[in-house]
Structure formats: C-alpha cells, structure tokens
C-alpha cells in the first residue's frame, strides 16, 4: 500500500471507531463528556511518560484510559453533591486534570519530545513511518491499534446492543428490568476513553470530539432507527476522513484539522438538505402548511357568503385583502392555488366555489 492509502485507511478506521460510541453519546445527551475525557487523558499520558520515559509504552494507554474514567467519576461525584449543575461539573473537572498534565510535562519533560501540541493536535502524516508486522502483514502501527479498538467497539456494541438501546431510550425501564444504568454509563465511558486514547496519536484529542459527535449528529438528522444511525455515522466518518485527507493535501495543512472541517461541512450540508429534519425541508413544510390553511380559509369565507345578497362584493379579490387582512401577493397566490385544485372558479372577476370546493369548506367547518 502507498503511504497515501495507508493514511486514508488509518483515518477511516479512527473515524468509524469514534463514530460508533459517539452515537450513544449524543443520544444520551452526554456528548461533551467526550470533550472532557479527551482533554484529561493528557494527565495519564504525562504521568505514564514520567514513569516509563517512553511515549509508546502500553502503561501510557492504561493510565490515559484510567484518567478518562477518573474524569467521569469526578464529574458524577460533583453532580451528586448537588452543589453544581452537570455542565458546570464537566467544565470544572477536565481543566484541572489537563492543567496538572501540562504542568507535569513542562516541568519534567519540557525538553523531551513529548509535546502538549502533539497530544492536542496529533499528526497523521507521520503515521506510516511507525510500522508493525502481524500475521505476515506489515502495516502501520496505527492500523493495528485502531483496528483493534474498532473491533473491540463493534464487539461491545454488538454484545450489549439491547441493553444500550434500552438504557438510552428508556433509562427508567432499563433500571426496573435490572440493568444497572451506572454500570452501562461507566462501560460506555470506558469505551470512549479507550477510543480517545487510541485516536489522540493520530488526530489529536480535540478533534476526537469532532469525529465522535459530528457524524452521529448528521446521521441523527436522517433516520429514526438506531441500526441505520450507526451505519450512517460510520459512513459519514469515512467520508470525512477521506475528504479531509484530500483537503489537507490540497492546502498542505494539518490532516486531522481538515478531517474535522469535513465533518462540519457534511453536517452543515445535512442540516440544510436532510429530507425531513433539514432546515430547507422544514421551511418548505411550514410554507406548505400555511398555504393549505389559507386556501381553506378562502373556501370557508366564500361558502359563508355564497347565497347572501352581498356575495357580489364579498367574493372579489380586493375584498379578501380587506377582510382577511391578507397581503395582495399572498391573496393572489392563495387564489391561484385554490384555482389549480379546482376548488374555485373565476367568473367576471368574482370567485365562485366549485362543488368540490364547497365540500372541502363544509368538511373544514365540521372539523
């Protein structure tokens, strides 16, 4: 494989591995825990580095995961004191752990090649240099590590699919049936921590957040079904990974940043054009509903005056503008769409109901 292809492969694996737990994060409304976790793993990495003097020792991964879980339990503990709200608890905890990490690094490892920038930003471009061979396959280490994490996430989500689904959509019922919500919460957060730790090398800890939240949120705008949302999130992730790679190549810029940018671009496109939830679709729906209501108003108005002596004056277009307080343009377009549906005929400048229009009007009045 060429280095180019390998980078795109790693990026895609990272994106899918992040998107899957991300689906549950956004459905359970704890999306920002990913932000907190991904920042505070710096502490675990710093401590691990001080112990081992290496940036790739397995102990680092274990400590970083542990500091992710520490973040979650500190946040939960703070919330349980009922002295601060959930959002404030998150905002209080991770800066502390992050600060301790930064101070440790700059005090004891400032001149070594452990850089806060590297943890926060990551650099995917160097990933192909660091290789490992397994089963006779010589692939970049990132493929193995992130591939393993991806498989782990798939396995866990597969095994606990029913429990996760139940706890996500009806936490009360889940608890009543005997599934511990606390256990599931911590389980999910552990998965998020492990994924964030594995991914920070490549995409940096802040952009992990983009990959965890934006693709599932885009998918959420397209479907109501959990399996489809999982699949679509993975697709969005891969698309952002590959699109981001080429954007970065074109601009000669940071790959992870470009991937995050692409997740945003895809989200924005979905936000605008999603068939039911999109902004445009919703604006059109609103307009159609208004038009529909106006046509019904018109028909009711005409039917009420149909057999009265003043029908001649009541049923002119100019009078609608006056009595129903419609703008002239709006009155015109309403009459036009009523004519198109053959509810109304125009004779000598007067509006006359057709038989069909009369029926619609009486149905509306009975409603």
């Amino acid at each position: 494989m060429t280095p180019q292809a390998e980078i795109q492969l790693i990026a895609s694996i990272v994106a899918v591995a992040c998107a899957l737990p991300g689906v549950f994060l956004i459905l359970r409304r704890v999306a920002l825990m990913s932000d907190a976790i991904s920042h505070s793993i710096l502490l675990g990495i710093a401590v691990g580095f001080l112990f081992t003097g290496s940036t790739s020792h397995p102990l680092l991964v274990a400590l970083a995961t542990a500091s992710g879980i520490l973040t979650v339990s500190l946040v939960e503990g703070l919330i349980n004191t009922r002295r601060v709200k959930e959002d404030a608890a998150i905002g209080l905890v991770f800066p502390v752990l992050f600060s301790i990490g930064v101070i440790l690094i700059s005090r004891y490892a400032g001149d070594v090649h452990l850089d806060v920038d590297a943890v926060l930003l990551g650099e995917l471009a160097f990933a192909p240099f660091n290789r490992m061979a397994f089963f006779g396959l010589n692939l970049p280490q990132g493929v193995w590590v992130m591939g393993g994490i991806l498989l782990l996430n798939l396995l866990l989500i597969g095994l606990f699919y029913k429990e996760l689904k139940l706890a996500t959509f009806d936490a009360g019922l889940a608890a009543a049936l005997g599934f511990s919500p606390v256990l599931l919460h911590y389980g999910l957060m552990t998965v998020v921590s492990v994924t964030a730790v594995g991914a920070f090398d490549h995409v940096g800890s802040i952009l992990v957040v983009a990959l965890m939240i934006a693709p599932p949120a885009s998918a959420y705008l397209l479907t109501n079904s959990l399996p489809r949302m999982l699949g679509l999130s993975a697709l969005y992730g891969v698309a952002a990974a590959i699109g981001g790679y080429w954007l970065a190549r074109t601009l000669d810029a940071n790959i992870a940043g470009a991937m995050a940018t692409m997740t945003g671009v895809f989200f924005l496109l979905t936000l605008l054009f999603a068939p039911e939830q999109g902004l445009i679709a919703r604006a059109l729906q609103r307009q159609r509903r208004r038009q529909r209501f106006a046509v019904e108003m018109l028909l009711v108005h005409l039917s009420r005056h149909e057999n009265e002596p003043e029908a001649g004056t009541e049923n002119s277009l100019a009078h609608l503008v006056e009595e129903l307080k419609w703008q002239p343009d709006f009155a015109q377009s309403t009459v036009r769409s009523a004519q198109e549906e053959v509810f109304v005929e125009r004779q000598n400048g007067l509006l006359l109901l057709t038989e069909e229009g009369r029926q619609v009007a009486s149905r509306v009045l009975q409603r």
Binding site: D35, V84, V96, D117, L207, M212, L221, D252
Partner: protein, 402 residues
C-alpha cells in the same frame, strides 16, 4: 512571607511580572463576573465551545489584515465565537439535536478549521505569523502592556454592558419565561449575554489559551455560588475569586521554572472551588455533613428515650413512675433495629436522662421520663400530661411483637 514580599517588590520593578500579573488579574475579574451568568443559565460549557471556536477567527483576522495587533485578533475571535454561538442556537432551536451535541460540533469543527488555516498560514512561510499559536495554549509571559490595555478596554466594555442591563440579565438568568411575558426582547438579550461570554473568552485566549479558558468562565462563578444566594454578591465574589486566582497564579508560576501561568491560574481557581464546596457556610459539604450527623444523633437520642418510656408503660408502670423501671438492654435492641443503642445510652447517661441498673438493665431518670413525654407529645399534638401512648406489645419472654 519573604516570597510574597519579594513578589510585591518585583511587581513594581519587573516589567514582565507586572504585565502578567495585571493581565491574569483582569482576566480573572472579567471572566468571573461574566461567567456568573453562564453558570446560572446552565451554559457553563458555552465558554469552552466559544474559546475553541475563536481560533479560526484569530487566524482569518491575521490573514485579512496581516497584523497581529491584539485588538485586531480579538475582533476576529469575537466574530468567530459569536458565529459559533449563533450556530449552536440555530441548531438547538430548529432541529432535534440537543445543546450538548451542538456545542460539541461547533467546538471541534471550528477548532479543526482554525487548525487547517493555522497550518496553512504557517506553511506559506510568512515570517510574521510566528506567535499566532500562542492563542492555542496561551503564553502569559509573552503579554505586553498593550495587550493588557486591550484586555482592559474590551473587558471594561463588557462590564459597562452588564451594569446597563443588570435588571434584564438578572431576570433572564432566573426566569426567562417571565421575562418574555413582561415583553423584554428575550432573543436579543440572549444574544447580548452570549456576546459577553465571548468577550470574556477573547480576553483570556492569550493568557491561558483555548483549552483552559472554560475553567476561567466556570470556576470563579461556581465557587462564588456556594457562598451566597444573591446575584449581586455572587457576581462580585466571582470577580474577586477570579482576580485572586489570577494574581496568585502569576505569583506561584513566577516562583519556579516550568510552571506555566495558564495552568497554574486554573489550579488556583480550582482550589478556590474545592475550598468553597467544602467550607462555604450554608452549602458547604462539611457543614452539611456536620448538620446531618447532629440531626441523626438528636433523632437517635429521642428515639431511645421514647422507647424506654414506652417499655416502662407497657410493663404496667404508671407514667409518673416510668423512671423507676429498668429494662433489659436486649429488649431495647429488639425494639430499635439498626440503631446504635449502646452509644446513645452512654450519651443519655452523661446528660443525666438515663441510668444503668443491675445486669445490663437501663431505666429513665425522672428528668428523662419528663423529656420523653415532651418529645412524644410533639408528634401526637397532646399535652404531655394527657398522653395516650400505644404501648409496645411484648411477649412473655420480653421480645417485641411487631
């Protein structure tokens, strides 16, 4: 003490230290004050999102003007942060995506885009761009007096806005629905408050950086919240805590090499939060724990007294002579499962309300019987003298029938 004296002396003589201390103080003051509203409105993480979202604004401002003047970059950050806040509002109001997801998307995507722009500018090879990345992590040591003036100016404008719209912001923080029914332009005021948070963020970017700015918004306000239930006091306290943390953070980080100012300030302000959570007079956890323990003891004491009294009556003693009859400790323990009877009896004895008798038996003293009658009367709304008491039924072996 010496260190502090030396610090005070240095503030007047050392340009860098003076600038950094002033900058950190202004940052703490402004972010504490403005952050109070964010915390009360449950928008603590808005600061986090806005500080990350400001990055592309900073870079674009640099690309457009070629200048690194603090005011130019601040305006860029302000514009980007503001756009981010509006996007969050649009997404949460118009779609089913919740606020946490919307904040996360804006935070990470804007930041990623800023990073793309930053690396792009860096690789264009313009020598002038160096130092733009201080906005990522903050480099307080690189502050100069003109930065501090810019911070003071922008912060002062924010404070003025708070003073002018104090009543409106107060209402909006506690009861936005009521504000709307009174005819206040709630949407506009929302935008104004969000803008103020962005202002606070923008002031802090150079000093503590993108990542730690969220703590400066949340922590002083969260600490101040523990000490008071009044908005004006909370806002002032938060400003005070913020300034205190800024000054002490600058002091501590100047004492030793390898203690960056930003993280040190954050640790200082977080220490204040921890102290407030534990020791604030009304809401403090230690106080609450002590009160709870006291209450639990009082309840236990009353329960043992009453049980002794009832046992005496059930054995046919007249209420007046309830004090005369001693009971097996075993009967007491059976009547009150889960209560540490032995320790409570010791307390009662030291207060002269109960007395031990032979063979692990206990009886009320006359004073104890009196108090038991009084405390029972409180629950039954009868005067202590005419107290009808349902006696505890005992088997012949002395065991309680439930």
């Amino acid at each position: 003490m010496d260190a502090i004296l030396e610090f005070v002396q240095l503030i007047f003589t050392d340009y860098t230290l003076r600038t950094v201390t002033l900058g950190a103080m202004i940052l703490g003051l402004v972010s504490g004050l403005l952050g109070s509203f964010a915390v009360l409105r449950k928008q603590s993480l808005l600061g986090d999102a806005m500080s990350h979202a400001a990055l592309p604004g900073v870079v674009i401002a640099f690309i457009l003007t070629g200048s690194k003047a603090p005011l130019v970059l601040m305006l860029g950050a302000l514009a980007a942060g503001w756009l981010g806040a509006l996007l969050v509002q649009l997404v949460t109001e118009q779609t089913r995506i919740k606020q946490d997801s919307a904040l996360g998307i804006v935070l990470a995507v804007f930041f990623g885009f800023g990073l793309v722009l930053l690396t792009w500018v860096q690789r264009q090879g313009s020598a002038n761009q160096s130092g733009l990345d201080t906005f990522l992590f903050g480099r307080a040591a690189a502050l100069v007096m003109s930065d501090v003036w810019a911070m003071a100016g922008v912060g002062g404008a924010g404070l003025l806005l708070v003073l002018l719209f104090w009543k409106e912001f107060k209402l909006l923080s506690f009861d936005p629905d009521f504000a709307a029914t009174l005819g206040f332009p709630v949407g506009l005021l929302n935008v104004a408050l969000t803008t103020l948070i962005v202002v606070a963020v923008v002031i802090g970017l150079q000093t503590v950086g993108v990542v730690l700015m969220s703590a400066m918004i949340v922590a002083p306000a969260a600490a101040a919240r523990q000490w008071t239930d009044r908005l004006d006091r909370m806002v002032l306290l938060a400003a005070l805590f913020g300034a205190l943390a800024g000054i002490s953070g600058a002091l501590i980080s100047s004492l030793s090499r390898g203690l960056p100012t930003g993280p040190t300030v954050v640790l200082c302000v977080s220490t204040l939060v921890g102290f407030s959570l534990l020791f604030a007079p009304n809401r403090g956890l230690v106080g609450a724990w002590l009160r709870q323990r006291h209450n639990r003891r009082q309840l236990r004491r009353a329960a043992v007294l009453e049980t002794l009294y009832q046992l005496a009556i059930s054995h046919g003693d007249a209420a007046e002579v309830a004090s005369a009859h001693a009971h097996q400790l075993g009967a007491l323990l059976a009547a009150m499962p889960g209560v540490d009877v032995r320790r409570t009896l010791d307390v009662l004895e030291s207060e002269g309300l109960a007395r031990p008798s032979t063979g692990d038996r206990w009886a009320l003293t006359p004073a104890g019987a009196d108090q038991a009658r009084q405390s029972l009367a409180r629950f039954t709304r009868h005067s202590p003298d005419e107290l009808p008491i349902r006696p505890i039924a005992l088997t012949s072996a002395g065991e309680v029938i439930k």
